[in-house]
Symmetry: C2
Subunit: 189 residues, 2 copies
DNA sequence: CTCATGGTGTACCGATCTGTAAACTTACCT
DNA sequence: AGGTAAGTTTACAGATCGGTACACCATGAG
């Protein structure tokens, strides 16, 4: 089995899962839409859960790479990058295929914390929180963990609100709130 | 059909849907756990979607009543009530059965905006936003819609983060951030 | 040519899904 | 007593679920 074939399957599955949900998408539909036979699909992925995990891993990698790169491109100070995150989010919300955060959805559909899919989704959020914490440290804030968590709350809230209520308001208000938090957070030393 | 029987079915269904998800819960399980026969269940609710909608309506009513009452109990000024919301949330997060927001989950599992379940979930968020906007107006803030949206973002973010990462941090940081927003928001007049 | 190997399509498995048909029991109302 | 209506059981329909058995076919190696 060619490894690029597998990657292609994961890419396509990711797209379909993101659009239609995990439980609502059957393997039969995936098999039809990828054009591969069911036997081959199960040669590449032992179970549906394995396929979901692979899709989430790809999404995690793509999303974090994209977010981090865009933020670095948007500003050259750690502080500026934290603020730039909300512009990047606004662009995302405005995209046609925007359907909210795939990891929130995964966590919602697989609620058991012992389930690998739930754990993988939580890990994604933990990585984002760690990234924000690192930026807050570099920027010299006195309480980087707290500030990072607050920015994460605004980010997650904005994603949820944009998906449920519309794209415009949440992104703008999240950025305004973030600016206020950054301007008023105490510096160390 | 006695109306209280129907209410009992909705209550039980709500509990099970919240615990296990919508698509992951079959009507057979609901029938077994409620003790009612399948035919009776379908006498009360024409389809599974109807049952989900009834459960969401009950949840909306219960949650908003509970939240508004607790906030009024926690403070007697509009401003104080907005801030008290985050203490109420913290209590909720600490409860045993806490599994995040049912409406975010409903929106995640029924993504089509034309679907009644998605619309109902969005309506719940709109009602909460309206309530916050009213409080912000009463408190005399110059831009009540903006402030209400920012508080809503913190609330939704806190719920998501508490469900995925743990209960403690998000509630505390959301409240701190909210206090800062309230203290720095311009007053009208 | 022969043979092994790995990917393929087809057809299928048992379980579960939402929803229904029909005959029976229970209880209340007049 | 007789009738109406709710609720019951049992059985089932047709579709779809995740997953598999198996025969087929291509390719490359000896």
């Amino acid at each position: 089995m060619r490894p690029n074939k597998r990657d292609e399957l994961v890419r396509k599955a990711l797209e379909i899962f993101y659009r239609d949900g995990f439980n609502a998408t059957g393997m039969d539909r995936l098999v039809v839409e990828t054009g591969v036979s069911k036997t081959s699909m199960y040669k590449h992925f032992r179970t549906k859960d394995d396929l979901i995990l692979a899709a989430l891993r790809l999404r995690d990698e793509n999303f974090r790479n994209w977010l981090f790169r865009e933020c670095e491109h948007g500003a050259d100070t750690p502080e500026g990058q934290m603020l730039a995150m909300f512009d990047v989010l606004a662009d995302w919300f405005a995209q046609d295929g925007f359907r909210g955060c795939m990891f929130i959805k995964a966590s919602a559909e697989f609620q058991d914390k012992a389930h690998p899919i739930n754990a993988q989704a939580a890990e994604h959020k933990r990585l984002l929180l760690g990234w924000l914490t690192g930026l807050a440290q570099q920027a010299g804030f006195a309480a980087p963990e707290q500030l990072a968590m607050q920015l994460l709350l605004l980010k997650e809230g904005a994603i949820v609100a944009a998906a449920m209520l519309g794209a415009d308001g949440p992104a703008r208000e999240a950025k305004d709130a973030a600016r206020l938090l950054l301007d008023n957070a105490p510096r160390s030393g």
